[in-house]
């Protein structure tokens, strides 16, 4: 059973500086939850990718960061949400190297590999929500 141990903190994602701020908040929480340096780095990198997508493709939005606890094991959950155009073909978007812009097409697929849980909810009339969780090992 999973229960949130902190109220999620909400961060605006509306500019490049906000992406840095969300990264730093997630880093601080991962340090606090005693994640290994490699796991901190993986989670912060995934955060950076998804926050940038929220900004660039979603037209901005927000990130919600919470500390979880599963039978004494800490985890970090992050929601990214925007009310942008949505992702028309999610399978395609999750393919390594596929980009609709000038990116490397590694953000979504790479972020998925870097975390333990990864869910996307997207539709043209709803925008995009991505949820990730990483548990302390």
């Amino acid at each position: 059973m999973t229960s949130s141990t902190t109220e999620p903190t909400t961060y605006a994602v509306a500019a490049d500086a906000d992406v840095v701020r969300v990264r730093q908040a997630v880093r601080d929480l991962a340090v606090q939850a005693k994640f290994s340096l490699v796991d901190q780095t993986k989670l912060v990198t995934a955060t950076s990718e998804l926050a940038r997508n929220t900004l660039v493709y979603g037209g901005g939005g927000e990130a919600l960061v919470a500390l979880l606890d599963k039978a004494g094991r800490p985890g970090i959950e992050i929601w990214f949400r925007d009310e942008g155009p949505g992702i028309p073909d999610l399978d395609l978007a999750l393919t390594d190297g596929w980009t609709s812009g000038g990116g490397m097409g590694l953000g979504l697929s790479g972020a998925k590999r870097l975390v333990d849980e990864f869910e996307v909810d997207t539709a043209p009339d709803r925008g995009t929500r991505v949820r990730i969780v990483k548990w302390r090992r």
Partner: protein, 132 residues
């Protein structure tokens, strides 16, 4: 917006990234470096990323593009000081930094640029020296 300073040592441009690199600052650095290569006729660019806590697809692309542009401008780019946790994450993310030379530290990077050592060039299908 801050800018990342570019130092010149002989015919090498040295950049030491000390901040949590914001996207627009990374892009400005890419432009500044190309301009400085042209202005100074530098033959090498050394990018020290030992203070960088993550390299994501954006910074990775900036590094690859800088290496490609400097090559066209007849200069070589070497990236030094990548932290092990960053390297591990980079591989899992799927970034190959193809065509980018890397070295462990600034001294070795400078040695590569001085032509005294050969560096590792990350390139697919080109690493079969080991199985002799």
């Amino acid at each position: 917006m801050d800018r990342v300073p570019i130092l010149r040592i002989g015919d090498v441009l040295l950049v030491s990234i000390q901040v949590d690199l914001q996207d627009d600052i990374a892009l400005a650095l890419q432009d500044d470096l190309s301009q400085r290569i042209v202005d100074t006729g530098a033959k090498g660019v050394l990018i020290d990323i030992s203070a960088l806590e993550i390299v994501d697809s954006f910074v990775g692309r900036m590094i690859s593009t800088t290496a490609a542009v400097s090559r066209v401008l007849d200069a070589e780019t070497v990236v030094v000081g990548m932290q092990p946790a960053v390297a591990i994450t980079l591989v899992e993310l799927g970034l190959t930094l193809s065509g980018v030379r890397t070295a462990l530290d600034v001294d070795r990077g400078l040695a590569i640029l001085a032509g005294r050592e050969s560096g590792v060039v990350a390139e697919a299908d080109d690493d079969d020296q080991l199985d002799d």
